[in-house]
């Protein structure tokens, strides 16, 4: 009798053990599930984690179309000023040159890199400025020549 009681007790303990194990597992799964759900919800709220690159590509693509229609509407008589003004505006690349020219290395390791960036930036600032001033002014000069009859 004591033997069977003992056996029963052991069985009960084993069953309890198994149940606890199961519960732990369930807990684990539910945790994981909650985690995923929370993450999914967060994604949903942020409109999905779209890389900023995608937005840039979208803007780029739209701008190509805008450019296409705007340039076709340019009168052929003004194609030369069109080229000189596009020259001037593409020199907005000066924003990169300004960053480079003004860079300061934060650590010793960065110092040599930033020195090069300063030199390149300085030269790029000069080149872009030639274009900005030259491009806009020569466009202005040309456009001022176009006059109507009389």
């Amino acid at each position: 009798m004591t033997d069977s009681t003992q056996q029963l007790l052991e069985k009960a303990q084993a069953a309890a053990e198994a149940a606890r194990h199961l519960a732990e597992q369930a807990q684990h799964y539910s945790d994981e599930l909650a985690h995923t759900a929370a993450a999914a919800a967060a994604h949903g709220l942020a409109g999905g984690a779209i890389d900023p690159f995608v937005f840039r590509v979208a803007i780029f693509a739209m701008a190509v179309f805008v450019g296409y229609y705007v340039v076709w509407s340019v009168t052929p008589a003004l194609h030369t000023p069109l080229m000189s003004v596009t020259n001037a505006i593409s020199s907005v690349i000066i924003v990169g040159a300004l960053l480079a020219a003004g860079v300061e290395g934060m650590t010793a390791a960065e110092a040599s890199g930033s020195w090069w960036a300063n030199v390149f930036g300085f030269v790029a600032v000069i080149l872009a400025s030639v274009n900005i001033f030259g491009g806009f002014l020569v466009t202005e000069r040309m456009l001022s020549m176009y006059k109507k009859k009389g």
């Binding site: 705007v70 872009a128 030639v130 001033f133």
Partner: protein, 465 residues
């Protein structure tokens, strides 16, 4: 200033650039458009300086750089001859290209300042964008220098054909792809440096085989490249103003190239492959024994005085001879005698798109007397005189009739329909395409040989009597 406000300001700059191009739809709104462009540029520069305020030393560097560059640019803009606009524009393209290369290199050396990662840990995407910007910029740089040298006649305008040039170009192109992959994979500056060198070489080998007559296409194409290079850098920097501008300029140049190709009935590919106009068939006069009718300035003056309607067809020869002012003077005198004067411009007249229009505008010819090919071509039939000054191939009827001609299919100005055709030419030489012009031998054609400017001046003198 927060990054969001900065991004919005860059967007405003980009939109102002769109307005700058939009203004060019008519001469009346064009100057306003140009101002929008200037304002956009000022906003972009100010935004950059405010968000990344440089140290005193940095600011000093920038001010000195802008002073040197701006001074040079302003001086060139003020002094350049209008006939030299194609060279100036090609030179400007070279500068944009080199600036793109330098900015890409700076971004590699100081990635943190550009927000693209830390040294040796630059994001792969940024490396690709950087390589693209640098490569296109470098091709634009050397390509534009070659175009500049050809246009300013410091280098022969004839195509320079390297042996196996297509193989060379393909190999350079493959090398570019391989170097980009190596650079992105290893983050080592050596590959970027080699990438830039190979692109420099490719720029040269792409442009040297292209002849002088195709320069309008080349200049437009390089315009387009400089835009794509700027866009590549714009992606590296994540800068909206640059991305928008790059796209605008890129598509603008592409459209102009297309218009120029159509004006010559050439495919873009055949222009890029080069070699056209190289085999100028010497003095074709060897087989040509027919006589041409030659006239004097007095004859021309007399014919034109008695005409009711004259259409003037200017070409590159007018630009070379700087004859536009004398031409306008002649037109004014004829107008006083009650003659109706119009100008007809072929899309590829001159060495860049719209070149003739600028020269005529410079000589105070009102822009509403100047017409494009499709708008005026039907009027030659009613014209008493077609006055062709420094143009040749664009009037050659062989383009319509002779299937064997190099210019077959090219749209031409129908000057042969006018009662009398006056041709101002330096000599009997053929045009850039190396094709004999049938028109010279027609009975209603009168040739006026000599320098275009001197000839027009003599006509003016004879009209004054």
């Amino acid at each position: 200033m927060s990054a969001n406000i900065a991004a919005l300001l860059y967007l405003v700059a980009g939109v102002l650039f769109i307005f700058a191009l939009r203004g060019l739809s008519s001469p009346a709104t064009s100057r306003e458009g140009n101002r929008y462009g200037m304002i956009g540029m000022a906003i972009a520069v100010a935004t950059t300086l405010l968000t990344h305020f440089p140290s005193f030393g940095g600011l000093l560097t920038i001010v000195i750089g802008v002073a040197i560059g701006g001074g040079t640019g302003a001086w060139r803009a003020r002094t350049v001859q209008m006939t030299a606009m194609p060279e100036l524009v090609a030179g400007f393209h070279a500068l944009v290209g080199l600036a793109a290369v330098l900015v890409a290199a700076s971004a590699f050396f100081a990635p943190r300042a550009f927000g693209i990662g830390d040294a040796n840990e630059i994001h792969a995407g940024s490396l690709v964008e950087m390589s693209l910007g640098a490569a296109i910029g470098a091709i634009t740089f050397t390509g534009s220098i070659i175009a500049f040298l050809k246009l300013s006649e410091r280098m022969t305008g004839k195509p320079i054909l390297l042996p196996e040039r297509h193989t060379i170009n393909i190999m350079l192109g493959v090398a570019l792809l391989a170097l980009t992959a190596l650079f992105v994979g290893t983050q080592s500056g050596v590959w970027l440096f080699l990438l830039i060198l190979v692109s420099f070489a490719l720029g040269v080998t792409l442009i040297i085989p292209i002849g002088g007559a195709d320069m309008p296409v080349v200049v437009s194409m390089l315009n387009s490249y400089s835009g794509w290079a700027a866009a590549g850098i714009g992606f590296t920097l994540g800068n909206l103003a640059l991305i928008i501008t790059g796209a605008l300029v890129g598509s603008s140049g592409a459209i102009l190239s297309y218009i120029m190709c159509k004006g010559m009935n050439r495919s873009f590919i055949s222009v890029i492959l080069g070699g056209f106009g190289g085999e100028v068939a010497g003095p074709a006069g060897g087989k040509e024994t027919r006589n041409v009718k030659q006239g004097s300035a007095e004859d021309a003056g007399y014919i034109m005085q008695n005409a009711g309607k004259i259409i003037i067809v200017p070409g590159y020869g007018m630009a070379v001879a700087q004859a536009q002012h004398a031409l306008r003077e002649m037109a004014d005198m004829l107008k006083e005698e009650g003659v109706d004067i119009k100008y007809a411009i072929h899309p590829v007249a001159g060495r860049m798109p719209g070149h003739m229009n600028v020269l005529l505008a410079e000589a105070n010819v009102p822009y509403d007397e100047v017409f494009e090919l499709e708008d005026i071509n039907s009027e030659f039939g009613q014209a008493d005189v077609a006055f062709v000054i420094g143009a040749n191939d664009v009037t050659n009827p062989a383009a319509k009739t002779d299937k064997t001609s190099a210019i077959y299919g090219m749209p031409i100005l129908d000057v042969e329909k006018a009662k009398t055709v006056l041709f101002l030419k330096r000599g009997m030489g053929s045009g850039y395409a190396g094709v004999e012009n049938e028109l010279f031998f027609r009975p209603n054609t009168m040739m006026l040989f000599g320098d275009a400017k001197k000839t027009v001046e003599s006509i003016v003198k004879s009209l004054a009597h």
